[in-house]
């Protein structure tokens, strides 16, 4: 049967996602948020989620709607501050102890996700050594420098945004849209891409930016 990872609806894309899922959401600097899928996840009401996203709340992302709807019990991110002057929905829940937070340096965050997809259970990094984020972490010296041990992040679900897909799930990204998306797709058991166009004919081999091997479902959302 021809490989064809395209699905007809957001509901179909999210079929089988369970409460308690670890959800990796791409997006950074205003580009690459899979907002159609995030909105569908909120409507679905899947709860008790661990949200792995560079920003807990970003003004271009709908992850804050998941948080506001009370569906998220834990956040792993590098930035948890709202843009608005008051407290963000995340900050309101966090100050009341109703949501757990793990903050990582952004490079560690990216590398931990990459490690999750690459079969590396843990790695050492210099980032964060000598800071509060090193608390409770193993410190080890290699050469003349100290490093922190960081463990891989593995997700049940990745929601990423791309530009063009083909039926094999190969993806291209527009400009800075890729950011955390490729790594997140590799690190999740179920990786779903929302794309502008999903085509029958293959993306030329040299233009593919993420192999369809890492992508399970593709949803066309236009845009």
């Amino acid at each position: 049967m021809p490989i064809d990872k395209r699905v007809a609806s957001a509901a179909e894309a999210l079929e089988g996602v369970s409460d308690g899922a670890v959800v990796l959401c791409s997006g950074f600097g205003g580009a690459g948020f899979a907002n159609v899928l995030i909105a569908a996840l909120r409507e679905r009401g899947t709860s008790n989620l661990t949200l792995v996203s560079n920003s807990a709340t970003h003004r271009f992302s709908l992850t804050h709607e998941l948080i506001e709807a009370g569906l998220v019990r834990r956040v792993i991110c590098s930035a948890a501050r709202g843009h608005a002057p008051g407290l963000s929905p995340f900050e309101e829940l966090w100050k009341d102890g109703r949501i757990d937070l793990t903050v990582l340096p952004q490079g560690t965050f990216a590398e931990a996700i990459r490690a999750g997809g690459a079969g590396i259970p843990a790695f050492y990094t210099p980032a964060g050594f000598g800071t509060r984020l090193a608390e409770g972490k193993e410190i080890r010296r290699f050469g003349d420098r100290d490093y922190l041990l960081e463990e891989a992040i593995i997700g049940d679900l990745a929601l990423i945004r791309a530009d063009v897909a083909d039926r094999w799930g190969n993806l291209t990204f527009r400009h800075a849209q890729a950011n955390f998306g490729p790594a997140m797709a590799t690190a999740a058991k179920l990786a779903i891409a929302e794309v502008r166009i999903a085509q029958d004919q293959p993306i030329p081999p040299t233009e593919v930016q993420l192999s369809g091997v890492f992508v399970n479902r593709v949803l066309t959302v236009g845009g």
Partner: protein, 227 residues
């Protein structure tokens, strides 16, 4: 002479950027350095969202919501640019391939410790972003910040009071009233605002300042702040 304004501080930092350097410019004042790189130099500006070779801001006609820097600003690409993903971007940063990063800061200590991520505002979520990777791993860390806080407290300190971003990383500090290098023997002032005495500057710092024998006047062209 009046202290440098924020754009003048960015201008002054930009004068230290050398030909061919790969530089990462932090959100806020640092990113303005890109506008003031000395004429005739070619520099690669890295944005940690993966843009390698960021150009000037896009005009309205060319602005693209997918072509952004780490601060969500709609930018252009410089000739020779490419875009990589976040994992590759931080591999580049952590691997020591960034010649200099220019960052903002709350405090810098005489041993080079940097505090620029946590002002301890109650209930505001932490915002680390890429600062710890950049501070720990760029070949040089340069800071742009006012010499004192708005309330007059010293930002150059014997030890940082605020939580650290990285220990012992800062090499140069570009402030509104002085340029300060961080040396194995502590702070060394290399440029001082005309009209300010060494004693006056020392009084505004929490750590011992040394003054370079060749300490020069800190000057910058007039640059108006945007409204």
């Amino acid at each position: 002479m009046r202290p440098l304004n924020r754009l003048q501080m960015a201008w002054r930092a930009a004068q230290d950027i050398e030909d061919g350097m790969v530089v990462n410019l932090g959100i806020g004042m640092p990113v303005a350095c890109g506008d003031y790189i000395r004429p005739g130099l070619e520099v690669v500006i890295q944005a940690e969202n993966g843009v390698i070779g960021a150009g000037p801001l896009a005009d309205q006609a060319h602005a693209d919501s997918d072509l952004v820097d780490a601060g969500s600003r709609r930018i252009t690409l410089a000739p020779g640019a490419t875009i990589i993903d976040s994992t590759a971007s931080f591999a580049m940063i952590r691997g020591g391939h960034i010649d200099a990063t220019v960052l903002g800061a709350f405090e810098v200590a005489a041993n080079g410790d940097l505090a620029n991520w946590d002002m301890r505002i109650p209930n505001k979520g932490p915002l680390v972003g890429g600062a710890m990777d950049l501070a720990a791993c760029a070949r040089q860390v340069w800071i742009i910040m006012e010499f004192n806080t708005r309330k007059g407290a010293p930002r150059l300190r014997e030890r940082c009071l605020l939580p650290l971003t990285a220990p012992g990383c800062v090499r140069r500090i570009f402030t509104d009233v002085a340029v300060v290098h961080v040396t194995p023997r502590g702070f060394l002032v290399t440029e001082l605002l005309p009209g300010l005495t060494q004693d006056e500057l020392q009084a505004r710092a929490d750590a011992k300042l040394q003054f370079a024998p060749e300490c020069r006047p800190l000057t910058a062209p007039a640059i108006a702040l945007p409204e």
